[in-house]
Structures are given as structure tokens and as C-alpha cells.
Symmetry: C2
Subunit: 236 residues, 2 copies
């Protein structure tokens, strides 16, 4: 449904159900109109019907020889040119009337590090403030809403916030990520203790020197990822 870049390998038979894979790709960035840091995501301008001229989630038809997750990864590469630092299935949307022809969309959501996102890398791709989207094609507004809910939820009990940061980061930077996602301020002192006691961070010997007292750099402890997706490790 959300395919925008290549020809359709699936037959468009009137009474067949087609399967699409779309991806909600989150990263942090400076918001267009304010200069706050916030959650942003890329959308693709539809160049054909249905919903020509509207913005839609990146995605494509499922190929018979391609796994669901592989399709999602491809989507990500096509729009951001980056590999996901986090990728998880979100939901399968299958209302009969969500598209003129019957389409079931398996939607993934992904995080990528904000390090180096090409500003206008790909034609017809634009990054939007997740909290201020225009009207999107199909049921994509609903989908993004749900993805945002999952992101905010998951940030509470999981360590995914690291997926938005480079390899080494200060606690203040990590806290900013949480604050942007939850859109509320957190107490620096308490934040420090929580995350230190969680055992998910490894302090390095390096410091971020800047305007004031240097802050220690931390990196993510790979060994801790438990109790996240349950028995599904590399599911597809």
C-alpha cells in the first residue's frame, strides 16, 4: 500500500489480498518550527493513486522470497540510508476498507541514531515532527499514533532509548532522549541513579568536554537486553 519506489511484484487481482510492509522510523531531531529536540520520522510523498499527493509511511509490497523483517529493513535503507539500531514488529493492520483494494499491512517500527541523517538525501522523502503530522494517506495517522504510544511505553521498562544515541554518550544526553520521548523533564540526580543501578551502562574513561564541568561518557552494556520481546529473538 505504501510502496513508492519500485514496481509491484504482487498481482493486483481484484479479489486477492495483498500484503504490504510499512515502517515507522523514529529518530530525534531539531523540530522544524521550534528549536526543541523532539521525535521525528520520515514520510514519503505518494506519486500515484490512491492518495496521490499525500504523505505516507515508507513501505513496500511483500516479496514472496523476502521475510517481513527484511522488507522493513529495506524500507529503512531506502528512506534513511541507515541500518536500524532497533527494529520491532508493531502490528498488522487489516481493516477491509483501509484501502480501495484489500491490503493487509504488517507495520514495523524502528529507531535510528541521529548522528548523521542526510537532510534531503532522497527525493520525495521529508522528516516530520511526530507530534504535528499533516493528514496522511490511508490509516497512517492512526498507525503513527500507535507507534508513538509503544515507543513511550517501552522507554519506561526497556533500554531502547540507547538506540537513538551514538556509541558513547553522557548521562545528560541520555536524559534528553528520555525527556524528548516522554515530553517532560526528569530530575538529573534521580535519573543518574536509576540508570546507574540498572546495570545497563558501562562508564568509560573518556569525558565530554564542553562549556562546563566535563561529563563522563558511558556506553551501552550489550549483555543486558532481557525480558524484552520474550521468546522471539530473531523472529521474522
Amino acid at each position: 500500500m505504501t510502496r513508492t519506489t519500485s514496481p509491484s511484484p504482487q498481482p493486483a487481482t481484484a479479489d486477492a489480498t495483498r500484503v504490504a510492509v510499512s515502517t515507522v522510523i523514529f529518530t530525534l531531531g531539531r523540530l522544524p518550527d521550534s528549536d526543541e529536540i523532539g521525535v521525528v520520522l520520515p514520510l514519503v510523498l505518494r506519486t500515484r493513486d490512491p492518495h496521490e499527493g499525500q504523505w505516507a509511511l515508507p513501505g513496500g509490497w511483500l516479496d514472496v522470497t523476502e521475510s517481513l523483517e527484511a522488507t522493513a529493513s529495506r524500507t529503512l535503507a531506502e528512506t534513511s540510508g541507515l541500518a536500524p539500531s532497533y527494529l520491532e514488529q508493531l502490528y498488522a493492520f487489516g481493516a477491509v476498507d483501509r484501502s480501495p483494494t484489500r491490503v493487509v499491512s504488517i507495520v514495523y517500527w524502528a529507531l535510528i541514531r541521529g548522528d548523521e541523517i542526510p537532510d534531503h538525501s532522497v527525493e520525495n522523502v521529508r522528516w516530520f515532527d511526530a507530534a504535528a503530522l499533516p493528514q496522511l494517506a490511508f490509516d497512517h495517522n492512526e498507525i503513527v499514533e500507535y507507534a508513538l504510544w509503544r515507543l513511550r511505553n517501552k522507554v519506561g521498562y526497556s533500554r531502547i532509548a540507547h538506540g537513538l544515541l551514538p556509541g558513547e554518550f553522557t548521562l545528560a544526553e541520555l536524559r534528553e532522549v528520555y525527556e524528548a520521548i516522554l515530553s517532560r523533564r526528569l530530575d538529573p540526580a534521580n535519573f543518574r541513579r536509576q540508570v546507574e543501578n540498572s546495570g545497563t551502562l558501562i562508564p568509560t574513561d573518556r569525558f565530554r568536554t564542553g562549556s562546563h564541568r566535563p561529563a563522563r561518557l558511558y556506553r551501552y552494556n550489550q549483555d543486558v537486553e532481557l525480558s524484552d520481546r520474550g521468546p522471539l529473538g530473531a523472529r521474522t
Copy 2:
């Protein structure tokens, strides 16, 4: 993939992807070999290839005119004859090699009350101890494993346990449900307070009289369902 009861409305074209909907249906029951109470689920004996003679999750092909959830509900009716007291999408399984032909299965999981489940209502349907399954068709063992994980997880922060009980129940009965799902004993005193303070139960004037001191009957408070599935209310 798991269709067992009606002819396939989907074309079996070699290079098309077909969409199936399967459902993991949980309830509580007396386990076959012990006489403990535990989680049980119905499976359907496959009467044709692939995997003829193996047990599989109830399910069927997605019809073009039928929503995902509707297909799941139908499945439930066909195997248990009951309406679900809880129904939620679990995951979309789409590995390329999970079936001889390419099949994407949208899997739901459901709870039904144990009140009155016909013991051998439907031909080729049998109820199994969820913790001691034989080898199932396709990747269905994995799927059940994941569904169980979700059930146990969700019982911790949600009120779904009520979905396994009749309209009125004692706190001891509710506690038994939790104990069966989590397979560990809970302190009756603490359990009482937790659930009382959660505001999800309404005490009635009736009592369950039995072998000892009568226990007050409670019923579920409909008004509390919040923070469960997020923005997806009647999604399909």
C-alpha cells in the same frame, strides 16, 4: 495455514503470498494427567497436507471481505462454540520457509471463561495442557510459546485474568487464576489488598458458601480497562 473446516477461498498460485489467521485460545481447566488446574488450549488435527496428522492451531484463510479480528472470532466459535472474553492480536509470522508455500499468519490470542466448555464438542478438536504440548504443525509450538509469554506478562500489569472467570467470583478463585498462569503461589492477604486497591473489583452482597467461612463474591468493574492496548480500541 491452519484452515481445517472450509474450502480455500484464496488462490493457491505458486508465487502469491497467502494470508491466514490463527488463534491461540486459552482457558483454565483440569490438566489431563495431574488433577491440577492449569492453562489449556484447543488444537485441531490436520486432515490434509502439509503436516497431515499433526495438531495445529485453529485458524483459516483470510477472506477478502472479512477483517482480521472477525476471522479470529470465527475460528474461536468453530472450535469452542464460545465468544471470546478477551481477544487481541499477537503477532504476524512470516518467515519464508515456515510453510511449503508462502503463508503469512496473523495470529490472535484469546481468553474464554471455563464455565461450560463442551468436552468433545467438535470432531478433531482436543484440549491440551499448554505446558506439555506435542510437536505441532508448522511453527505453532513457537507461536504458543510466545502467546504464553504474553499471557503471563500481561497478567502482571493488566486485568485480563477476569477473562477466565464467570461474572461473579471470590478472591480465592481469582487468585487461583493468577497462580495457574504464573505457576507459583501468591499470598492470599497481599493478593486481596492489591486487587482491592486497584479499583477493578466491585464487591457484591452475595457470598460463596462452601466448606468453610463464606467468601464474598465480587464482579469486574467495567469502567477500568485503561492503559492496555493504547490508542487501538476496536482495531482490526
